[in-house]
Amino acid sequence: MKYLKFLLVGIFFGVVLVKSEAVSWYRIYEMFRFQSFHMYGIIGSAVISGILFLQITKRGYIKSIAGADIFVPKKENGLIRYILGGSIFGLGWALIGACPGPMYILLGTGVISMLIVISAAILGTFIYGVLRDKLPH
């Protein structure tokens, strides 16, 4: 039962990303060609809403379900890993038109060949784990 809420949030997330067309390969292409405001609008309005929510929680008006303060874990400082890793991610994102969330959502919409992409992404994560100590961070 304690996992039901995550199942429901996942379903909601999947519905929103399909209905917003954020899972559309064409919308990603359009974004990187600067030919539409659509994706910028989605990400921009999500971030602005997110900032508002986190500023409200910071003032203590909203607590978590367990009654604790809501907080976002701090990302480690760094430069190379974010620029280099981010660029590698971006190359893949624009090629297949899907990032880790949409991969699964698209599978649900019936794109069965997405299983190939998901398996490759798991393998890519594994390769990172093995090479991690040799990579600049």
Binding site: L8, L17, M31
Partner: protein, 185 residues
């Protein structure tokens, strides 16, 4: 009802994505859709190959359930909440893609030319999807997050590392779309 069945405008979708982040934070978790890839490596026994995969994966079950939900959400949205309307793409985008050999830009969520049966049974097509998946899986872990972890959660919490990562996403994305894709198609 027509409003739900048509594609949703950005100003409705964006805040709803922020709501997903808010709900997960309310439940004491962090929104990041790429961590499950690491968890699946760990479940498959990758801990033998690298310490990076040695962690208590049972704490991450909620994240795998979220993924299952996302798959179901995709199914529900296409089967019960859509009217098969064609995406309202920029006419310039459409003619560009048609010139590259894409037949019906916007009619489906992903191009048949890449994800259809004919594409994935050809060596080139298969390699394309595998390379794309590898880049996403490798890059997202190297950068310690993806679009949900950095672009949404990280930027919303005003973190500099996430801003750098998002700039990285765009460098890679711009290079792929503007310089490499035209070479492939």
């Amino acid at each position: 009802m027509e409003f739900i069945l048509n594609p949703w405008p950005w100003y409705v979708s964006g805040p709803l994505i922020a709501l997903v982040m808010a709900l997960l934070l309310y439940f004491g978790k962090t929104f990041g859709m790429s961590s499950n890839l690491r968890t699946m490596c760990t479940i498959a026994g990758a801990g033998k190959a690298s310490n990076f995969f040695k962690f208590k994966w049972r704490d991450q079950i909620w994240n795998l359930i979220l993924v299952v939900g996302a798959v179901i959400g995709g199914f529900i949205a296409t089967h019960y909440l859509s009217n098969n309307s064609i995406s309202n793409l920029n006419p310039e985008t459409i003619s560009e893609l048609q010139d590259m050999g894409f037949k019906n830009p916007g009619a489906t969520l992903v191009p048949n030319e890449m994800y259809g049966w004919e594409a994935i049974t050809s060596i080139e097509g298969l390699v394309l999807l595998i390379v794309g998946g590898l880049l996403v899986g490798f890059g997202t872990r190297y950068a310690a997050g993806c679009t949900s972890g950095h672009a949404i959660t990280g930027l919303s919490s005003l973190q500099k590392p996430s801003l750098i990562a998002v700039i990285g996403f765009f460098i890679g994305g711009l290079v792929m779309t503007n310089f490499i894709l035209p070479l492939i198609f």
